[in-house]
Symmetry: none
Subunit: 295 residues, 4 copies
């Protein structure tokens, strides 16, 4: 395959680019800030380093972006020396950042107006799955571009989906995160109920792990929650933002979601007590009362 | 092992008794109503059929009960020809029904007053795990009786816990079922949101199954839910009853559980529209509107 | 009218008995504990003081009870020297205490078994309306007894209802208190939202008072809530108990009430932080976060 | 006073314009679509009919807008032949639509950039108060414009507030409507609970009207709700929109509002079953089950 461009060398982007390099892809990378050491490391692994998003696009037929947020995702496209300056017919841009559907649509329209093709492809999974090539890729947009980039997706993820029109990748991610947020609340309520009712929360974890609702999240988060440890793998304020966006999507489509709404209010309660920057499992804290029990 | 009594031949009870028979236990069963065909089927498998709870208790050293609700659980103990008439020192009664702690305590006291020993042992898992001997057994009460009945538990379940004083088994079960009920609602909301937002619910199932919240319940129930098929493995009205009891337990201990409360109201809504006898996954139905979408 | 018995000289009972005396009724009172001064005050107003509930019943054709809770309401009936010892055909007992339907039924059955007639008649309104004869009386049970006691009700309340069979008075009260509890939550959320959004809560009170949802409760409670003053006119834990009982009534009848359920969880949250003995308007406290605002 | 412009002849706008006409104001009206009959009716009452928002602004020193939603409110300002084409120093635009703060700010900035003055002035009250000149007006923005338009406000409303900077009128309105929406849900739940519990909903109305939570909305809406009559004074979809916007305001300020969130989901449920265009009291419908009762 031809050289692939890669914009954004954060925790996720770097892990993904390294994976491509290890699997024999030629990769041309760019990051807003690149330390000497970082550049050397990438070069050692065979990457070339581009001077700007535009330069990478010019050099490569296909370029992947993995930026930290909507603002950064828009910046590499629309700013000076950005993607739009060089994107053209025959070239494709694949944005794997997690952004809202509106941001995605904006980028898609701009790229297509220049004749380029566009694919949004947010991922499910964080640092570890990125390093292990075990991401789940939720792509939508140009089907031809999807087919062309599939060999790279096969290296980056354990599974990729093509979901239709631009926006559907973002929407699918919201639906999944909404379910996850409600589950985290259900789990937290259960842990507190066990504890206040004289049951061991640790035994609850054991029981849960044997039953029909056993899942990696309970297994991974439960023990640290019981120890009130909330090192932020996925910050609570981001989880709450996703709940809000999912509820807004439901509102557009007249879908009543009372459980997600209750979970969202619990996350907001957590934000209101200063837990927004901790892991989303910190919502557990708000279910603990300050009194042992009262009648 | 000696012959074991088994009271209650509902979906669960029958599957469990059959399992004991298949593993070589002698079993004496009783049910409030036993059709001719049903009796014949049980007898074919080697069961003997008792005339009343009292008759079964009289015949067997250890008797298991698996009744549908607290009223039925109390009835087999306290009514005419009930357990109390024959329970005595040297005999044990193991109630595996899902009942509230109060019911369990009432039974425990009455049995112990007659000199018998008592173990509550509600299970996690429904029809399929019951058939496959893959239940999780949450027992509490008389430790000696627990040790004595363990060979039977090893056949009925993949794991059994001894949780201390009577009431703790019931409580643990309620906590697990409460989390499960909230999750089923979160899942249902997500499926409807996907559908109404132009995403394929089937693809959502695939995506969920690859991520951090993948769990057997989503995997097993999802495909049939999408086909609006709700053959009752665990009837919705029983799930709602468990939510109610878990919320009551929270009330006693001043634990606020807004997500479980919202889920409970959704199950009640489902009951109010006649879905109470279907599988608890039928709560999915109430999230579907009757209009395609409106602004 | 003949002399009326009156059991229970708490805040409410005393105000009501005084009202009867002021309007020319002969009243024979009893209280569990009666200080010398209190007796003298009652006697000055023309009351006679009975030695026991039984003594009062013996003396009077109609006796009203106004006890503090279900336990006290049961005690004056079933304990030694209680109502049951003297109630008989031709005598009526009117229980105006706020009790659950089950307690009411128990008393009703016992009184009727002795040949007496029974009316439950819980009231809406607290100290001030009791003093002013402005209670709302929700009676149910024996229609003949209702007609007979009406002259007294006309003095005690501004309006009385006859609602049919015993239990309906208690149920009506629960429905009203449930709506009230949800409204108090809606009001509290609005006050906090105004405050955090840079609006004056006091202006919100003014605006509310001019609109379609203006009501005495907002007008009376609002100013003290803004000053974080929660002197208990109606203790939060009693309001929460009524929410719980109303939700249980809904559960029996398969009525889904998500807003009441959310309000109930908020009251439980308030209990869990030690606010149970304050006025029910103290639920306001739990909506205030501890952080000024966060994104 | 000089001729006043009036943009938007919906239920509210028409009633308000008619009021101004009846009180001797000259009014120049405009609506996106005006049937012949409607035009004739307005002209009969003395109104002149403008061809576009721009034409009305050009003719009048002060112009009031009363549009159905943010999109319509923006459209009359920014679209071709919109307000911006003619607004200038010495002219004022008063937007009485219920919109979010962002929309209000956008309009304010655009109007002020052209030299015009701006006042947002959403109202509390629907069709009947609009007809009777009994609205409550929540204005914010240019204090001079407020003083100038006060004579018209005195005709349209029973009371007007000046709340400071642009956005505060919208916010106050949202807070009030949020409380109202939650109350309507609490009321609906209570009516259904009464009915299913064997109590008369009509008696509940009587009891409520005598107590601490008596309010004009219960009194006005109750009887028609019981008769399943939902002639749209305030369409449900607009009430739900206001709930959504109030919740979004809470989200910005980290205010958790579980009761409002539950009420919002109930309104969404109502939208999903096709009730969006009926009166907001039609949310009552969704609490009725389709089954008489089930256990």
């Amino acid at each position: 395959m031809e050289e692939i461009g890669f914009l954004g060398m954060g925790i996720m982007g770097k892990a993904m680019a390294m994976n491509l390099l290890r699997h024999g892809f030629k990769v041309s990378v760019w990051n807003r800030t690149l330390s000497k050491g970082f550049c050397d490391e990438l070069k050692e692994h065979g990457a070339s380093v581009g001077e700007s998003p535009a330069a990478v696009i010019k050099k490569c037929k296909y370029t992947i972006g993995m930026l930290s947020d909507p603002a950064a995702a828009l910046s590499v496209v629309f700013d000076k020396d950005g993607i739009l300056e060089e994107i053209c017919s025959g070239k494709g841009y694949i944005d794997m950042s997690t952004v809202d559907a509106e941001t995605s649509s904006k980028i898609s329209e701009a790229v297509k107006k220049k004749g380029g093709s566009f694919l949004e492809a947010p991922v499910s999974g964080s640092k570890k799955p990125a390093e292990d090539g075990q991401l789940v890729i939720l792509s939508a947009g140009d089907k031809g571009l999807y087919d062309a980039i599939l060999p790279a997706f096969d290296v980056l993820g354990k599974k990729s989906f093509f979901l239709g029109e631009v926006g559907n990748g973002a929407k699918m991610k919201l639906v999944v995160n909404m379910i996850m947020g409600s589950m985290m609340n259900a789990f937290s309520e259960g842990l507190v109920l066990a504890d206040k009712s004289g049951l061991s929360p640790n035994t609850l974890l054991d029981v849960l792990d044997l039953g029909a609702i056993a899942n990696p999240m309970f297994k991974m988060k439960g023990p640290s929650m019981i120890q009130n440890s909330y090192s932020p793998a996925f910050p609570l304020k981001h989880q709450q933002k996703d709940m809000r966006l999912a509820l807004a999507l439901g509102d557009e489509n007249a879908v009543s979601m009372p459980v997600a709404a209750a979970a969202n209010e619990a996350f907001k309660k957590a934000r209101s007590t200063g837990l927004g920057d901790l892991d989303f499992s910190a919502v557990y804290e708000i279910f603990k009362g300050t009194e042992p029990s009262s009648a």
